[in-house]
């Protein structure tokens, strides 16, 4: 006999798509249903087989090159390719140049603001890069442990501050390990958390002058949330939902 829940509810549980209530309910059911238990084990086996087989096919170098070269060509406005339009174009360029000069004249204060903004953007780009780097095989953790009492002492002597290491496994963010990373030529502690199928890197650094208090945003499809706490700047990065990162931030901020 097949348990009715095994068709969809089991998969939703397996994929972390049930809310906390639904998951708890299903876990209670699981205790008394050998059928669902067997099926869940089978799903786990299939998933780890697929993950272990490294079936993900990355874009080949030829495609990367073609994408880079084909897109800008498609983007060139037709009048640039048309020699008859050239004369009109030179006037347009003059007008553009004039506008640019005028903007520079009028916009110094604005530019200063923009500069601060772009400094932050540059920092975010560095952090997203570090996150991407960490996802390369073998780069995620230097110390692999779900135990905060193993991860925390590991940083001793490797870094000149003691990053706050906490496991939030009970709240859906299991600690996976830690790593040293270099952010903008300063050493930072990277704490690695799991969030369903996603990886969250939390970079911890001593607060630098000019670090913004609370900020968040999206870059290249990755969400980031940063905050300050006890003299540290925290930046959480992941491709998981923004709400997840905010929840992780609240967990850190909770006493």
């Amino acid at each position: 006999m097949t348990c009715d829940l095994s068709q969809t509810r089991l998969h939703a549980y397996f994929d972390g798509e049930l809310d906390a209530m639904g998951a708890a309910e299903f876990e209670r059911h699981l205790e008394s249903c050998p059928d669902c238990d067997t099926r869940l084990a089978a799903e786990e086996k299939l998933r780890s087989a697929l993950a272990g087989a490294q079936l993900y096919a990355r874009a080949p170098e030829t495609l990367r090159r073609n994408l880079q070269t084909s897109l800008p060509k498609a983007a060139i406005p037709p009048e640039v390719r048309d020699p008859k339009a050239k004369a009109a174009n030179s006037w347009r360029w003059l007008a553009i140049a004039a506008t640019v000069i005028l903007s520079v004249f009028l916009g110094t204060q604005y530019l200063e603001k923009l500069n601060r903004y772009s400094q932050q953007q540059a920092m975010v780009a560095v952090i997203v890069d570090a996150h991407l780097r960490s996802l390369q095989p073998g780069h995620l953790e230097d110390v692999i442990s779900t135990d905060q009492h193993t991860v925390k002492p590991w940083f001793d002597g490797k870094i000149d501050f003691a990053p706050p290491v906490r496991d939030f496994g009970n709240d859906g963010f299991p600690l996976l390990g830690g790593r040293l990373d270099v952010i903008d030529s300063r050493t930072a502690a990277a704490l690695v958390y799991g969030r369903r199928k996603h990886i969250v890197n939390v970079f911890v650094e001593k607060v630098q002058p000019g670090d913004s208090q609370d900020a968040s945003g999206e870059l290249q499809g990755y969400h980031w949330v940063s905050w300050q706490q006890n003299g540290f700047t925290f930046t959480a990065v992941s491709d998981t939902a923004y709400a997840d990162l905010d929840q992780l931030k609240q967990l850190f901020l909770a006493p």
Binding site: T8, H11, L46, A53, L55, R58, A59
Partner: protein, 177 residues
Amino acid sequence: MLEPEDRARFEADVMPHRDAAYNLARWILRGRAQAEDVTQEAFLRAYRSFGGFQTGNVRAWLLQIVRNCCFTWLQQNHVAEEMTEFDEQSMPPKPENPESLAMATYDRERLQRALEDLPAHFREIIVLRELEGCSYKEIAAITTRPIGTVMSALARARQQLRTILTEPVPKGASRDL
């Protein structure tokens, strides 16, 4: 035509998902060369319609375009395979046998071939969930199906994949990744 700032945004937000795009195309089309062509075509389409895309999930938006290009390609090239859309009513669930539930460990080649032997609509859902790590909501958006259909199709796809894996190994070379 894209404004320069949109062009920069496209470079920054869409380009990083080229692996995701290629991977999906490679598995739906089951071949490298086709996947490269179709991914490139999908990026051009995405580029042309990017002006209309303001906020939201860039990866899901791009993958939806990739997926549509792939299925158009399969149709145009009359690829002889099960193209029918998954329909729960006409495909009632069958009980799974104990052997396939107690799946043994399989090597990469075997898994690759099994995944390629799944019907296209099951294949894409396994790739999006297991290789790309998409949420149900994202898969629903990419494949333009209701979430309920995504859930039952995923359950069915996993079961069928296990069944293929327990069948005797078929003869013939496997396609390269």
